[in-house]
């Protein structure tokens, strides 16, 4: 964690575009995945210890990530593949059917907005161009946004297959702004902050209480264009509230 005094030093005077990550930044996501991962462990408890089930699932996910990308459908396919592998083909089709059911339930979860999100979007939408920059399955992310009722606040929605610097560069170019005018907020240092800082943009980290292993980084970040805040509401005092040229 950075000290409060350092946090206040970030200068966000030139910001025109604010991009928000969606999952675990605007609404609950990872806890739903963890809930399914727990039920997945239960399904396999006759075959392997619960802890190994998560490890094996993560191994399958990492192996297939370049092929499937992010999102629930790939997660479902990885659960199925893991069941087959760890049971040495001994699992019944009922187990696989359960996995499909869990995945479909995940796709149908209601949207649970995080505290303060709507207030912050309301406060910022008059003075800034707001966009969403999120990874995941195309239709699923669109559906979640639709369900969230937040569409009206956003100028543009970017569903990305990756969040590498080149992907943000494309987005920034598309939004016709300079990296220095671009601020990204999200719960992942790895995906939401580091690539944006690399391009000359600004980044705000809002840690969520649980983070997918793939998004974790072993470093504490100190950077003149970076700040970590506790909740999304803490962004407001850092930004000018008067009108700026969007």
């Amino acid at each position: 964690m950075m000290s409060d005094s350092i946090q206040q030093n970030i200068s966000l005077d030139h910001i025109r575009v604010i991009a928000f990550d969606a999952d675990d930044t605007l609404w609950v996501n990872e806890p739903y995945f963890l809930e399914v991962a727990k039920k997945f462990g239960d399904l396999l408890e006759d075959f392997i210890p619960r802890h190994n089930a998560s490890q094996e699932l993560y191994k399958t996910e990492m192996q297939n990530l370049p092929l499937y990308g992010y999102g629930v459908k790939g997660f479902m396919l990885c659960m199925i593949e893991t069941v087959i592998r760890v049971t040495s083909h001994a699992a019944s089709p009922q187990v696989i059917q359960k996995v499909i059911q869990y995945g479909q339930e995940l796709l149908n979860k209601p949207i649970d907005l995080l505290d303060g999100v709507e207030d912050v979007l309301t406060a910022l939408s008059d003075n800034y161009r707001l966009v969403i920059a999120t990874k995941g399955d195309l239709l699923d992310q669109e559906r979640k946004l639709e369900k969230s009722g937040l569409t009206k606040y956003f100028h543009h929605i970017e569903i990305m297959s990756e969040k590498q610097p080149k992907d943000y560069m494309k987005l920034i170019k598309h939004l016709d702004c300079q990296p220095d005018e671009f601020l990204m907020l999200g719960n992942s240092i790895k995906s939401d902050c580091l690539p944006v800082l690399e391009l000359g943009g600004h980044a705000v980290h809002i840690p969520y209480h649980t983070t997918w292993a793939h998004e974790k980084v072993d470093q504490s970040l100190v950077h003149p264009r970076f700040v970590q805040i506790k909740t999304i509401r803490d962004i407001l005092p850092l930004l000018k509230q008067e009108a700026v040229a969007k």
Copy 2:
């Protein structure tokens, strides 16, 4: 089929943006799915006749389309669900593993450009803004485009969860052109032509020798802003070759 004389009557003088569907318009796609569907029938031949296997798979696909959207990952999940249902849970996990393998092979297929595609894109790219408008899994469609070597011809790539009029409207607005300046080319009357015509745009149908049942329409289309051609090369004589304001 429309007569040659009617075909020549379409006026494409105002076109500034030409959008191409990708699968089965720029490169081979449906035959690869059919190949997998055939192998899927083989897998299930101990349980149900081949024709029923395709019907059952299609039924599962239609049922899950609102949840999964288009693309290979959803297709894989539908094959797995179909295996479990039609075998009344009697299929071995090996069968499901085979299905996963077929799907992964589909994701790794090489890109086979259709005849004339590169010549047409080369001829048009100086005078028109060219874009891709395609359905499917985000990462998979991006990867196919990358493999195709065609990226350099396109001003913008739109991967869409649906091809309804509202989706095209968003694209046209985003491209900052008028519907009357927009021309869509594709192999599906339902997805590539009808919604664009509804908005006041122009559409060109290039039938492919095989079409997914979901994309078929039972109507012959006659419309002043529509034309059907035999191969992608036939678009060239219909378009002005001199420079236009893009």
